[in-house]
Amino acid sequence: MKRSYSLVLFFLLLFWCLGIFSEWLIKIDEHFVFALPFLQKTYSLVCHQEKNKLLFFDGAGTLTCARCTGIYLGLLVSSLLVLFKLPKIKFRINILMAAALPMIIDVLLSSLKIYTYSKLLAFSTGLLLGSIGFFYLYAGLNNLILELKR
């Protein structure tokens, strides 16, 4: 994929991730507060936004739960990585399944109350899935661009 497309993808993910941290952006420019209810509604489509599962720091909280924040930050980190170097590994489906497994286990075990929900664990498992899952999205977009060029 051309670097320009990878750059566009990176910036789209960056804006999406910045939206998650809107409450911190308000501290930089107070006019962001007008977008806050709209952004809360936007992220409510992709996250349950349960208060006890959001990440809080310095009096502000994320608009998505720890797990979702991890997934999106994982996507962002990988999109930044491909701007510099695309890993030469062939991403088989087993790798995606392996990356999803810790998250699935964490969701199941914490839902069954085997252990108490941990934001760090949720964030970490989300980060793993997001960072690996990005390469499948990247491969899909790459194949799409090649198909359209034919």
């Binding site: 806050l36 209810p37 996250c47 208060k51 979702c68 489906i93 995606l96 899909g140 799409l144």
Partner: protein
């Protein structure tokens, strides 16, 4: 239309599930991508075509799944709001008030933001309908669901094609 029947079915399912709070706490952001993936599988079975899926087809299926999910999700959400005169905006008003009060903002900005939200809340409590809320729901649903559906279609096709490659290599 028949061509995208699988997308319609999965989009309908995703649209309904998106407004069920219990389901969202399990599946989070995966509802739409999973729905797009399932729509590709359903289409394969319906057309009995088990060849590799073209990315253009995967993108279109994902996009249509997202659009149908947005359509049904928006209709159900607005209908439920109209009938019950209650929704997440009403429920989260106290939280939003607290968040806005705790933020380092000028009193003028705080008043303005809360008055916009208050007017939406009052409209919904009175008539079950608010233009701003309706616009927000429709815009959000159509944009976000289209994107997530498309992503799900592309990634889903990668998974299906990878499985097909493994099966043909295994033979």
């Amino acid at each position: 239309m028949r061509k995208y029947l699988a997308a319609l079915i999965c989009g309908f399912g995703a649209g309904v599930l998106q407004i069920v709070p219990f389901v969202k706490s399990f599946s989070c952001c995966m509802i739409l991508p999973l729905a797009a993936f399932i729509s590709l599988l359903l289409d394969q079975r319906a057309t009995r075509n088990f060849e590799k899926i073209a990315m253009k087809k995967a993108l279109l299926f994902g996009l249509f799944t997202g659009l149908f999910a947005a359509l049904f999700g928006s209709v159900f959400e607005l209908l439920i709001t109209f009938l019950t005169k209650n929704n997440d905006v009403i429920a989260s008003f106290t939280d939003l008030q607290r968040i806005v009060q705790n933020l380092p903002l000028s009193e003028e900005i705080k008043k303005e933001v809360l008055s916009i939200f208050q007017s939406v809340r009052e409209d919904i409590l009175k008539s079950g309908f608010s233009i701003l809320y309706t616009f927000s729901v429709i815009l959000n649903n159509f944009i976000v669901n289209s994107i997530f559906g498309s992503v799900g279609g592309l990634v889903g096709a990668q998974i299906i094609n990878s499985r097909l490659s493994n099966q043909s290599n295994g033979k």
